[in-house]
Amino acid sequence: MRILIVWSLLFCVTALKAADPKYPVSAIPEILKKDADVVKRMEEISFQIISTGETILHKKYALTILNENGDEYAGISEYYDKLITITSMEGTLYDASGKVLKRTKNKDISDLSAVNGNNLIDDSRMKSHHFYYREYPYTVEYEVEQKFSNTLFFPNWYPQEDEKYAVEQSSYTIICPADYSIRFRAFNYKGEPEVTMEKGKKKMRWNITSVPAIKLPFASPSWKEMTTVVYFAPSEFEIQGYKGNMSSWKDFGKFQASLNAGRDVLPANISETVNRLTAGVSDTREKIRILYNFLQKNTRYISIQLGIGGWQPFPATDVATKGYGDCKGLTNYMYSLLKAAGIKSNYTLVYAGSNKDVLIEDFPSNRFNHVILCVPLAKDSVWLECTSQTLPAGYMSDFTGNRKALMITEEGGVVVRTPQYGIKENTEIRAIKAKLDEDGNLNMSVKASYGGTEQDDVSSLINALSKEKVQKVLQKELELSTYDIQSFKYEETKEVLPKVDEQLEILVSKYATISGKRLFIMPNILNRGGVVLNDQKDRAFDYVYDNPFRQEDTYEIDLPEGYELESAPSEINLKSKFGTYTSSVKLVGHKITYKRVREHFAGRYAAKEGVALAEFFESVYRSDRSKMVFVKKTSNP
């Protein structure tokens, strides 16, 4: 009975406390509401390193959702697996005035599978909650605590989590044993963290206030250049009994090497196959090609990520007998095949995808999502993407190319650069011979050749789809109104610098507009680029372009008899730091010859160059869509 009373007293206290309005929307400064869907009102993150094997993350934050577009941030989803436990999760909903409307109960929190769609299976699950409130603005407050039984990752601090997201206040505190060396790298953070000692523990705190929302511009630099971000990484760490140190790439590489150790043993029959396949071949490159081909024929990509399996490859024997593996398993298998043939190679960690500058060279941390293989040779290296069934040996597509990666060697990790392809390699050359009939229908033969990263898309199109489906895609994708692909042919040259040759026969119905006595035709049939960018004057961030290319188009169009030119676009010749562009039309007899050369440079341009940049792209846009006008000669004047 006594206990009951105490409990109800406690309850009263909380209830009373809750009655005080918190987070009233009226308190948000106007400047934080501009361009914002969400305002983070407060955030206290505390990350405590108990030991190298255990950490606790405590987060408390409040978000005011200003409109419907902010709803996606209003919920909470936290992941857990064998190495992470969620010890508590609580939420409170407030109305605009700051009055408590609702508190979460345990049963409101759903426990769901979080298996990544790319994986056959992994062990991640998530706990999530959402209030589904609909009267704007409103505020949600969440408090969550997670325990990590590994120290491979330290949570980073991203106070501003997305565009259209303002921050009133956010802080991050890290607490660790006095002798533990915390490693961090801050971007756009003014000053230094506040360091204090408390009960023999070291405490460091970062805090920011009043950060207005950003609207993400196109061709933007990476997020860490635009807003405050602090990355954290361990020095000494531990995961499932494996220990390492991340203070240097060298040491981190050693850790990965220890995970891989002894996993390169091949079953006897596979070793024999390696010997048989490479017998009599003296050229190392040829041996690599043969074995890579063997890998592509006999394995496929299946991703299984369980526990330490997220970082440790399957043994080569497993991959050999099952015929499948993930990037780690397949790379380690290829490494083992090469080893059996006496060729040394290096397992290499990389962050794949469109974000190319994730690895910070002077701040070692575990920010990788993929593994590739590097085979160092006397002059250069041969790079292998072991999860691909179709890429040629030595080529890194835009998925893994042109970025820094961590190569694992016997001496530890070494930062290297994956191959970069420039304007000479990334090419698109196209020639069209076309005939226009009296009704404006265009019959054309297209011959195109794509190289380097310009062939990535077309290569995956023809390799990932059946012939019938390729035809369907072609029949849909071209920027022409009504047309029929009458035949198509692709030929791949699978070399270190791959090439795809394309041949198309297309009948375009009513390509030219015939209106009374006039004929209107756009001489640029298949390669219209450029873009119209308004309002570049107020741009705050640099422009970043990272994939250069060169395009060369030559089109010949035979016109029907009896037309004479009324108007034609004039020749254009643009040279700028963003790229070059020339286009011209010539009429000889009734044959139009159209020539276009466009070079797009990789580069970084200051925000103030926006007006010139927009002008360049708009000129390309206009010129690519300009028309020629012809008038029918009258027989009886």
Binding site: L112, S113, L120, Y132, Q475, S481, G516, K517, R622
Partner: protein
Amino acid sequence: MRLIPLVIFCTLTLPAFSQKESPFTKFGKISASTFATKVYAIDSGANAIVLSDIGSASLEGNSKGWFSLVTRKHKVVHILNKNGYDEANVEIHLYTNGSDEEKLDKVKAVTYNLENGKVVETSMEKSAVFKEKINKNRLVKKFTMPNVKEGSIIEYDYQVTSDFIGNLDPWLFQSTSSPTLWSEFVFSVPEFFSYNFLSRGFHGIDINERKDRTASFTVRQTQTASSTESFNFNAGVTDFRWVMKDVPELKTESFTSSIMNHISRMEFQLASKQYPLEVQNFRTSWTELTKGLLQNESFGSILNNSNNWLSDDIKPVYASVNSGEEKARRLYNYVRDNFSCTGKSGYIYMDQSLKNVLKTKKGTVAEINLLLTTMLRYSGLDATPVILSTTKHGYAIEYSPMTSSFDYVIVQLKDNGKVFYLDASDNLLGFNRLPLDCYNGHARVVNETADALVFSPDSLTESKTTLLIINNDENGKWKGRMSQTPGYYGSYDIREKVKDKGKEEFFKEVEKAFGLDIKILSPSIDSLKNYETPVALHYDVEFLTNGESTIYVNPMFGEGYKKNLFTAAERYYPVEMPYTMDETFVLSMEVPKGYEVDELPKQMIAKVDEEGSGLFEYRISNSQGRISFRCRIKFNRSLYLPEEYPNLREFFNMVVSKQSEQIVLKKKI
């Protein structure tokens, strides 16, 4: 009227005996010769060929005092190239509700490869079957075949035992990824149960037979911890067997409401049980089906209660309103604006109580609309749930009363002789408006008489009118005023865009579509928040001209179609447009100062077919320095047969071409 794909009832068809069996009835019948075919006649471009896919289902006594449904699947696939590897990944979805469950066992999987003329087998290890718990009710078991290469043949077999004898999944004879040479399903039905069968899709059944036999059944029931009662009896069993041979892969095409309308399959519904069980009929007629739903706790049982728990929340919503329609409107707006829809559940039943929906302010489509029904009734109005099948789910067949044919619930409201249909689950929809995918034919009112309804795309017309008036202002500048009323669903899209990006961004896009050298000024949108009616757009346009000697003007000003909607050269199944349409563009344009008309496009009228189901009008004239132009596209029906496709495509080709024609203006000399 929509075409209903081939429907056959199998309960009474005559047995058509055939000797033919799949060459792979027994596990492991793979020899070197099975690998011989590299290109199959059925589809030379296939990535994989299903050589045999045999399923069976039977009812067996269980230890819970009832029967379990035991289904088996045995599949053999020849993988021809890398793009066929997906066939080697298998997922089996299992359901449990806490007491009853579905269980997977007897998984056997073998990959065969031909190496040096010999068949090499690789068996999958037991540990390779993974379990993913989606939530407390759903579980997925997954496995992937070992050692798969180009040219491999894979074979697997498994059994699922289910306590849900009323839920037998349809058997799909046709695959959407590979052609199938042999697909077979055998359903063994004991005489004390009867099931309805419904065959759907375009491909015919090659073997359709039944055999009678006697079998023994054992049903056990645990009474106490130590005693189990056991019942043994013999009963007649009928084995129904259906086979389809050489079924091509079902390929998707655009303008198709649902692939489920076309895929060849057999559906099953438990119809009744009889002696020696207690005789009971399950949903054999529409009225019985709706009666069942009205008593079902997960559907309508709450509708007839007094439901006083609603009082505090909703009485203020319609306080002091007398008109029934106005009351309904208030309640509809209240539910639409204050409740979040968590999505379509794919079935018509509720997963939580309506009290909980009211409390948490969220629910599935069915939950939200059943809550609205309950509220409307509480306020004294005549509201009834309606069940329908959305386009994605396929047509609900009139001859076959099955609740699984429906996946959506809306509300029918009758007031003062008027009938309204309401859907409060979408917060951009208005009173008496339904989402497009509800217009998919047959629907049923859930009342005693189970009234049939038809929601046809032909009953919807998207009317869009655009008016552009251009004049020379006092400075000789060319300026225009644009007014546009899109159709209701076009307006819905605009509301969504404005919600996502804001008005400013939206008009920036409008400006871009309008073409270069044009500026949009003082833009406005009417009725943006009045969800019952279409929106109206107004803005001024300013043309930036340079005094060229010849000006070419497209009188459609960016409003024309730029690409043929029908890209594919050929068509294999009907074109299903979501509505009929009527679009009119009107331009009245003063010839710019100092210019005269050199040439106007020619007028024309064209029809899709003799019936005139589609019409295109292009009228243009110039009189006293003013050009009047009118362009209209009209479609009276929404469904076109494959043989009409070439006409339709040519018609649109002509529309795009005509709409790109230009007016030529020359400077006066």
